[in-house]
């Protein structure tokens, strides 16, 4: 053996071993799952062929997937907005409400039929770097008390959300899809439209179909094939949709009754974090990449009337480690008619100071006390307190038996205050 080769032999062996080890350690190219990727395209829903903001069975699928496939969907913020980190309150009145809510989908799941159920396992949510929380005039639980626009812009990481407008606060990352659901069938569209029309005629809250700004325009727009029947996305219905339930965390499985063959899964309106109640009307609203996997429960849809959720320790994981709680009762000032019952035009409600078995009034009572507490104890402004409540206060039912005073509490997650954290 030549001397030079003998001298280099250890180096050659080391390099060969290293190369072999590196090749075995590289997991990137080792695949097992079938992936279906639906990426965002364009700035707005209208620019994106995979985006819709109305619900109707005639909306064509943007992708097909088999049960078990890994489905990755790029989603947009709830308002299909053009808000940015430097947005101000004056930008809010320029939002186009006809664009709410942009949804990614529908995805046709091969093999599922009307009458089946679709189980959707949430595998991952990858948030954008920016999110916002708004006080929207005329919207939100205390819309009679908060009548001016307000915005908080959040900087996001997978560890927490911080904002220059909310100093000393870090909201933990507890993302979930505010809207996730499946397409209604034609019978459901007609039935839901009829009941909402009746409610609107009685003075209640219901949004009629609105072709302006509707996507996909070919189905739901002013010249669309079903313009008068495309449902708005604000109310959650039996098909899911805008449920805004924060317990639908990564790791949980949401089960939907299917109303059309293929089921028509859609996802959007991801919330980086939200309190139970989302009281200001918005959470920390973000775009995100959501990854799910589906399975079919044959015939399971016939025994369901609305979505159901199963999970393991996800609820425990989003619980605060320290908290402050206010107790709400269905009490009010004499002469006050709560805004949510004005459409009933009851002559009895106004003079009373105590309503019977009224959870909404109890929730309002608890929330207003909580807002007072946040301002007095933690030095936040009135608007900051409302924003914080929307993203970190949980309204919870205490009891529904002790007549007339059912109890709703408001639970503030004190972990959001940096002063309480290491």
């Amino acid at each position: 053996m030549p001397t030079i080769f003998r001298a280099l032999l250890p180096l050659i062996l080391t390099a060969a071993l290293a190369a072999a080890f590196t090749a075995r350690a590289d997991t990137t190219d080792s695949k097992w799952a079938t992936e279906v990727v639906i990426a965002k395209q364009g700035d707005l829903c209208a620019d994106d062929p995979s985006c819709m903001n109305r619900l109707h069975p005639a909306i064509p699928p943007v992708a097909h997937a088999n049960p078990g496939d890994i489905i990755t969907m790029g989603t947009r913020d709830a308002l299909d907005s053009d808000l940015t980190l430097d947005s101000i309150a004056d930008d809010m009145a320029a939002l186009d409400l006809n664009l709410v809510h942009p949804m990614t989908g529908p995805v046709h799941i091969n093999g599922v039929k009307r009458g089946d159920a679709l189980a959707v396992e949430l595998l991952a949510i990858d948030p954008d770097q920016y999110g916002y929380t708004l006080i929207v005039p005329g919207f939100g639980f205390l819309r009679d008390l908060y009548t001016e626009s307000y915005i908080v812009n959040w900087k996001l990481t997978p560890r927490g959300a911080v904002s220059d407008q909310m100093p000393g606060i870090t909201v933990p990352y507890e993302a979930f899809p505010g809207s996730i659901g499946v397409l209604p069938g034609e019978p459901e569209v007609q039935a839901w439209k009829a009941r909402e029309t009746a409610l609107a005629e009685a003075g209640g809250i219901a949004l009629a179909p609105q072709p302006l700004g509707a996507q996909p325009a070919a189905v739901c727009g002013p010249e669309g094939s079903h313009a008068a029947d495309c449902l708005r996305t604000i109310p959650p219905r039996e098909n899911g949709g805008n449920m805004d339930v924060q317990q639908m965390q990564v790791g949980t499985t949401i089960i939907f009754p299917c109303y059309v063959d293929g089921c028509g899964l859609f996802i959007g309106d991801v919330h980086y974090a939200q309190g139970d109640g989302e009281v200001s009307g918005t959470a920390i609203e973000i775009g995100a990449v959501v990854t799910v996997r589906t399975s079919i429960i044959e015939g399971g849809g016939t025994s369901m009337v609305a979505p159901q959720v199963s999970g393991n320790d996800e609820i425990r994981d989003i619980e605060p480690t320290r908290f402050h709680q206010t107790v709400g009762l269905p009490l009010k000032a004499a002469g006050e008619v709560p805004i949510y019952v004005t459409y009933l035009e009851s002559q009895k409600i106004g003079p009373l100071e105590n309503l019977s078995e009224d959870l909404t009034l109890a929730a309002r009572h608890a929330l207003i006390q909580m807002l007072d507490y946040i301002q007095a104890e933690h030095g936040l402004t009135r608007e900051q307190a409302y924003i914080l409540a929307s993203v970190a206060v949980d309204l919870r039912v205490g009891q529904v038996v002790d007549v007339p005073n059912y109890v709703v509490t408001a639970v503030l997650n004190l972990d959001v205050f940096d002063k309480f954290r290491n």
Partner: protein, 187 residues
């Protein structure tokens, strides 16, 4: 005084739909649309808001800053915004459907001129409200003579400049005018 007139822009607050209540906000307040693409428009709109806050507080003026001129046009065309502040060039482009706009707003009319900008509305903006704005601007020498504009004057402005009395409020708003209106002297 003019109390109650522009306040009467508000539709009766009987609508419970959250979005409709946002629309009520947009109608209860005189929301002036501006755009980030036209950097001058926002500070000018804020100046207008301050002026109206002092001299026509019933208008309860607010400013809406759209990110793009295209969004501003969308909001105007879909009646989500009633009044927008545009540069003279942009007003002409919107009237004729030229870039940067994707469509024309053929019923675009001028309410007042402020330097190189023009306050615009569509014909759905009530003549009475246009008349009140024109009168208020004239009363306080706030706006320039509306000449050399690329868009026609709103009928209500024409009436105000001609010294005609204020047109009647729209039927659905008269009932909401809570105070008696005293028509100001003409100039």
């Amino acid at each position: 005084m003019l109390a109650g007139i522009l306040g009467a822009v508000a539709v009766p607050a009987t609508a419970h739909t959250p979005y409709r209540q946002w629309q009520v906000y947009r109608q209860r307040h005189l929301v002036i649309g501006a755009s980030r693409e036209d950097a001058e428009s926002y500070p000018k709109a804020k100046e207008l808001q301050a002026f109206l806050g002092e001299h026509l507080p019933e208008a309860s003026a607010r400013v809406a800053r759209a990110r793009t001129l295209k969004r501003l046009a969308d909001l105007l065309a879909t009646d989500q915004l009633k009044v927008v502040l545009l540069s003279l060039d942009h007003a002409e482009a919107l009237l004729r459907g030229r870039a940067p706009f994707a469509f024309a707003v053929s019923d675009l009319h001028a309410l007042a001129r402020f330097g190189n900008h023009v306050l615009c509305a569509r014909t759905v903006f009530p003549d009475a409200h246009a008349w009140i704005l024109a009168w208020t601007f004239a009363e306080h020498d706030q706006a320039e003579q509306p000449t050399g504009l690329p868009v026609p004057l709103h009928d209500g402005v024409e009436l105000a400049l001609a010294g005609a009395p204020m047109p009647p409020l729209p039927d659905d708003l008269e009932a909401d005018a809570s105070e008696e209106v005293e028509v100001p002297h003409q100039h």
